[in-house]
């Protein structure tokens, strides 16, 4: 009896393994493939696996919109926030396990490692070729979907219209001294790092700005979820955070407003790459083409209240006066330089705020 239970468990495990090995083959897609042929081959493959750090409401909606268009193709989402996903992908690749077809993540350093180790392959979908060039990978290893600026948000119950900060410098007013401001921790988020780094490189803001901001004794939120909840519940009056969070709460009636200072806003973006060893290369391309299209990006913009790289999508939530991405003063910054500067920047940041 006991023996058969043990044997059954072992056999079950081995059986499950055999299935996953069966489809572990890579392949390459000719560049001049026709749309019809791509669709036909993708349907033949029948599925694809998307490793994605985009929060579930956005990634799920995009995958569902795709599956509605191509019901024959199943999208398996492997969603993990932060860098856990990269840890997993790189372990898999090292162990010669190739599950992933499309990989979306938000750190250029990860992109460098992945490109260097041959985990991702160059591919930019036709739709993405019209994007602002700064939203495309400089070497063709994919395209951006979410564009996430860092902005000021305040609680309108605690801060009057008149006192409300309009510029970065307004945060240095003595009125906001003493744990009144909560800033995101650039060491905890790739978007925040990218945004703050660009701010420190801007002549109008610079590293000195953060040094002065420290004098206000701000709280540093490692956890952006707690940060936005502290703002809406009235725990703190002002935050500097990734801008999409307050828009979502505003729609629920929370007393918050967002300010994109004129001196310019730092920003981060995510990247979608083609997996070099994609087990379903045709479905992978078809999905990337869709994800870079108006419909695919709209699913993300609408469900995550975020700006997207595709021009002309509009802003969400509608009717709340959110400016278009083109109206913002997005600060420039070289991606390679930004990535190479990570250790120095985070040490500098720690020396000021820790």
């Amino acid at each position: 009896m006991l023996k058969s239970v043990v044997a059954g468990v072992v056999a079950g495990c081995l059986g499950a393994g055999a299935v996953s090995l069966a489809h572990a083959q890579a392949g390459s897609v000719p560049d001049d493939i026709s749309q019809e042929e791509l669709i036909a081959k993708a349907k033949e493959e029948g599925r694809l696996t998307w490793y994605v750090s985009v929060p579930t409401p956005g990634s799920q909606a995009a995958a569902e919109a795709f599956m509605e268009l191509y019901p024959e193709i199943q999208v398996d989402i492997q969603r993990l926030g932060g860098f856990g996903l990269w840890e997993r992908l790189s372990s898999e690749f090292a162990a010669n396990v190739h599950n992933v077809d499309v990989y979306s993540q938000a750190d250029f350093g990860v992109r460098n490692d992945a490109a260097e180790r041959g985990i991702i392959a160059p591919y930019i979908p036709p739709n993405a070729r019209d994007y602002d060039p700064q939203f495309l990978d400089p070497d063709g290893f994919g395209f951006a979907t979410r564009i996430v600026p860092s902005a000021i948000a305040y609680n309108t119950d605690l801060v009057s219209e008149e006192d409300a900060p309009k510029t970065w410098n307004d945060l240095l007013d003595p009125m906001w001294a003493g744990q009144k401001i909560g800033i995101s921790d650039p060491r905890a988020s790739g978007f925040t790092y990218a945004a703050f780094w660009k701010m420190t490189k801007s002549p109008a803001i610079g590293e000195e700005y953060f040094e002065k901001l420290k004098e206000q004794d701000p709280l540093v939120y490692e956890d952006s979820g707690q940060q936005i909840n502290s703002l809406v519940s009235g725990e703190i009056p002002i935050v500097v955070l990734l801008d999409y969070r307050p828009w979502e709460f505003m729609e629920a009636g929370a007393p918050v407003k967002v300010v994109y200072p004129e001196e310019g806003v730092g920003w981060g973006m995510d990247y979608t790459h083609l997996a070099a060893q994609a087990p379903h290369p045709y479905a992978a391309r078809l999905f990337m083409d869709f994800y870079a299209s108006e419909e695919g990006t709209r699913a993300v913009a609408e469900n995550l209240r975020t700006y997207v790289a595709m021009p002309g999508i509009g802003t969400y939530p509608e009717g709340y006066g959110r400016p278009a991405l083109e109206e913002l003063n997005l600060l420039p910054g070289d991606l390679q330089e930004q990535t190479a500067d990570y250790d120095r920047f985070t040490e500098w940041f720690a020396s000021i705020f820790d």
Partner: protein, 582 residues
């Protein structure tokens, strides 16, 4: 959610049962050996190999699978001031929360077991309930209560002109841990307090000793081994806990060993090799703690096991009864009712706000919970995986427990030791070891629900083993011999005679495995993928996305399921004639 949230009175070894061994000393019975070797093999795959992978990773300069070299560089981190600070913070929190949990647990124990408090039986079951909820959910609920400016309790305190509390502090972390580890202390002290023969106290009374003197002179010394054991286990749990310092420590920069470990794994640029070193250090500390515990318990047999004086509410302290009741009700209000109320209120809000007189109310959060596919999946997965782990663990425990008791011998002793040692493995470490091991074994375990099932079995299997061992110790060998005399095979004898006798104990072990698998967060967080979400990871995901109102709605669903499980377990244990704990 941490290393050994599990541990509930595990001694490291069981009293030898030498007298029972010789009857089965002939080795001819192949099926017994097959079962033993099978059990050993499963244990090796579940625990030993993942841990071996971890040690290997700790002496490499790249994650396993990548080309790299052997190095001791990772261990250099142990000699940095940063590491010293991590240890110091972990130890401060460990000592503080242990002291608080012990004080609460001891008060609960003395009142429920040693006084004639009203409703003793009901309270006995109720005071354990806080331990069944995911502790980090408790931590988030306490933010709603004690957030410095807008926490409900702080608003109340401020309006009364009293000083307020800041939950984002060492005090806050210790407070929440102490509250939620107190039931663990109670579970340890309970059997010891029950075991003290009431006639000892009666004699003291007759001699004119006051209740406080008899408590100090009689109860305290007899309960001392249990007190020490509970302290060690709570300490080990507290320093292995990730969720509570993860939620409450960020604002004041209170980084401890576990939060640093998780950060090293999940934040880019990740450094899993250094993370393994942290994990190994954490494991070393917990092993040391449990070894000390073992040594202390081995020296003293503290159960007096008098025939009289068993049962709750024995000592005559009648006029204190209602004071005792007040203390217990206060604990239940603070650990259970207030946080549940805070959760319930917030779960019906559009966004978290202390303003109750507003139009900020909605049912959308519950609509979301019951319509979002990943969350529906997580509810099903949690139930299936926790019951599955309990079933798997119970079968394994029955096999290993049997040989531990009936066969003895060096090999069995080793297997037994190995099995129990998993409680010293912090779940952060377990998760990391399992990722590395299963990703390099391409048989499709990795990235599926199986890996979560294996993690739960590895982590909580000691509950079942402990239950099985104590059950087998009470089965008289002559019954088995009778079976053999009548020509029944070993397997048949086991199935027909022994198993029915031990089922109540096995059920209680399985129940604990279900509770703890159900609330496990840390290892799950490292191992789950889309499709294998569990409630704890779904809650954590909502937390990290900042969707607190939905998080509390899902937590309320979680609470309802846990209460249903508790009710079911109580019913089963009444049918089986056994109390719900080993």
């Amino acid at each position: 959610m941490s290393s050994a949230t599990n541990a509930q009175g595990f001694g490291w070894q069981h009293s030898p049962v030498a007298g029972l061994r010789q009857s089965f000393s002939n080795l001819s019975d192949l099926s017994r050996w097959a079962a033993l070797i099978g059990g050993l093999a499963i244990l090796t795959v579940l625990v030993v190999l993942p841990m071996a992978m971890l040690f290997y990773g700790s002496v490499r300069d790249e994650p396993p699978g990548l080309e790299g070299n052997f190095t001791l560089q990772n261990y250099a981190f142990l000699f940095t001031p940063a590491f010293g600070m991590l240890v110091l913070r972990s130890v401060v929190i460990g000592i503080g929360s242990t002291a608080l949990a012990l004080a609460i647990g001891a008060a609960l124990g003395v009142i429920i077991v040693r006084t004639r408090v009203p409703f003793a039986e009901k309270l006995d079951a109720l005071v354990i309930v806080p331990a069944y909820l995911p502790p980090f959910v408790g931590a988030i609920a306490w933010i709603v209560l004690l957030s410095p400016q807008v926490g409900y309790l702080n608003i109340a305190l401020r309006s009364l002109g009293l000083p307020t509390f800041n939950i984002y502090s060492y005090g806050g972390i210790i407070w929440v841990m102490g509250l939620y580890y107190a039931p663990l202390a109670y579970l340890y002290l309970r059997p010891a307090l029950l075991g003290i023969d009431k006639s000892l106290e009666e004699s003291a009374m007759v001699m004119g000793a006051s209740p406080s003197v008899s408590l100090r002179r009689i109860v305290l010394p007899l309960a001392m081994p249990a007190i020490v054991a509970s302290c060690l286990v709570i300490f080990v749990n507290a320093i292995g806990d990730f969720g509570i310092p993860g939620v409450l420590g960020f604002r004041e920069g209170i980084e401890v060993i576990t939060t640093a470990l998780v950060r090293l794994v999940v934040k880019f640029p990740s450094d899993p090799n250094t993370a393994t070193v942290l994990g190994i250090m954490l494991m070393a500390v917990t092993m040391l703690g449990l070894a000390v515990n073992n040594r202390i318990l081995a020296k003293r047999d503290y159960t007096t096991l008098g025939v009289r004086g068993r049962g709750l509410g024995q000592a005559r302290t009648g006029r204190w009864r209602y004071l005792g009741l007040t203390v217990i009700v206060a604990y239940l209000v603070i650990a259970l009712v207030l946080p549940l109320l805070a959760m319930a209120v917030t779960s019906f809000q559009k966004f978290p706000s202390p303003k109750l007189l507003s139009s900020n109310w909605t049912l959308d959060n519950y609509r979301f919970i019951f319509s979002f596919p990943a969350i529906q999946r997580s509810i099903v997965n949690s139930i299936v995986l926790s019951f599955g782990a309990a079933a798997f663990g119970t079968v394994l425990a029955t096999v290993l427990g049997y040989f531990t008791v009936k066969h003895g011998g060096r090999l069995t002793k080793f297997v037994d030791y190995l099995a129990l040692s998993t409680i010293a493995v912090p779940h952060t470490v377990l998760g990391l070891g399992m990722i590395w091991f299963w990703v390099s074994v391409p048989i499709g375990i990795y990235g599926t629900k199986w890996i979560l099932l294996f993690a739960y079995v590895a982590a909580f299997f000691p509950f079942s083993l402990r239950a099985a061992v104590s059950a087998f110790m009470q089965v008289d060998n002559s019954l088995e011999e009778a079976g053999r005399v009548f020509g029944a095979s070993w397997g048949r004898t086991m199935w027909k005679i022994v198993v029915p006798m031990i089922i109540p104990a096995l059920l209680s072990g399985a129940t604990m495995m279900i509770y703890y698998s159900f609330r496990e967060l840390t290892a799950s967080l490292m191992l789950y993928t889309a499709g294998s979400e569990v409630i704890a990871t779904a809650i954590w995901e909502l937390y990290s996305e900042g969707r607190f109102v939905r998080l509390f709605a899902l937590s309320m669903v979680n609470v309802v399921i846990v209460f249903a499980l508790v009710a079911l377990a109580n019913r089963l244990s009444r049918v089986g004639g056994q109390h719900g704990q080993p």
